[in-house]
Amino acid sequence: MNGDVATIGRGTVVRGRITGAANLEILGRVEGEVEVDGDVVLDARGLAAASLSGRRVTIRGAVRGDLVATESIVLEDGARVVGDVRAPRVAIATGALVRGYVQTGDAPAASSTARARPAASAATPRAANVSATASAPRTPPRAAPAPVPSPAARPAPSAPARPVATAIAGSHAAPSSNGSQASQPSQPSQTERTPPRAPSAHAPVHAPAAAPKGPPPPVMPALKKGAKGAMSKKRA
């Protein structure tokens, strides 16, 4: 991908689909879908009635659509977003307003905006949902699916781990279409977030640390810092 920057000027409206290996700056208005390999910046006065997908997405304006990035999403002060926000790293400034589901962790495939939803719903049982009570059911399911499907689904368990890890590191080779190559071989949807790495195996599902009897403590406590994989794995 070259360092091309494409600009949708302030007086321009694009209705349709924007794709490509370039960075995109939106000063005007976009309706439809944006899926680029580079960075996407929505100007403070820019408007998007579209899903936006890129490597690093920065929003300063208003969006009605889902935001997906392979590296990071930043909602700056003044941003207004109605839609889901998913990326390995998400930063939301104090003055940014969001209405939707926000999730940090595993890089969903850039073109997975559609898949992301099924993934979310599939993972809904615990992921989307809140209550700690969900944590109870969560733990067991996690244990099972995590290790099993991963290796099974993937041709080379370790291989996917790399790409995903890579994806998370933001240095993936072919970002857009696969996001985590791992997601392809494995299952559609949720696999994007599927615990690719071995760590999931040892990531104590039954957090030994958080032994507490009562509500089975979700793995979260036990997770080491940076075990984004584990966190996302939960969603799997």
Binding site: G9, A22, G32, V36
Partner: protein, 104 residues
């Protein structure tokens, strides 16, 4: 200087409407309407009807072209479509196939 630049790596499938000028270096399929100038650079591929002010074409356009000003096909340009403009220039080396209507 254009305010809207569709860079070389970009593909837009849909409609572009602008009240400024537009420069296309990438691919546009659908429809392009600008109030000011439109420049289709070498390497750009436009499969759409294009209308705007002064049009400068060095890339490829497949579609009808309507200009409120002049249409300039530069060497290397490839246009397949009808052109409706008050003035038109087809440079040596430009390829053109279509009708020209200068009765604007």
């Amino acid at each position: 200087m254009a305010s809207t630049v569709i860079g070389a790596g970009i593909t837009i499938d849909g409609e572009i409407t602008s009240d400024e000028d537009v420069v296309v270096q990438g691919t546009v399929r659908g429809k392009l309407t600008a109030r000011d100038g439109v420049t289709v650079e070498p390497g750009a591929v436009v499969e759409a009807d294009v209308s705007g002010g002064p049009l400068t074409v060095a890339g490829s356009i497949t579609g009808n072209i309507t200009s409120t000003d002049r249409v300039d096909l530069q060497p290397g340009a490839k246009v397949i479509g009808n052109v409706k403009a008050a003035r038109i220039t087809i440079s040596d080396g430009a390829q053109f196939k279509g009708n020209v209507d200068m009765d604007v």
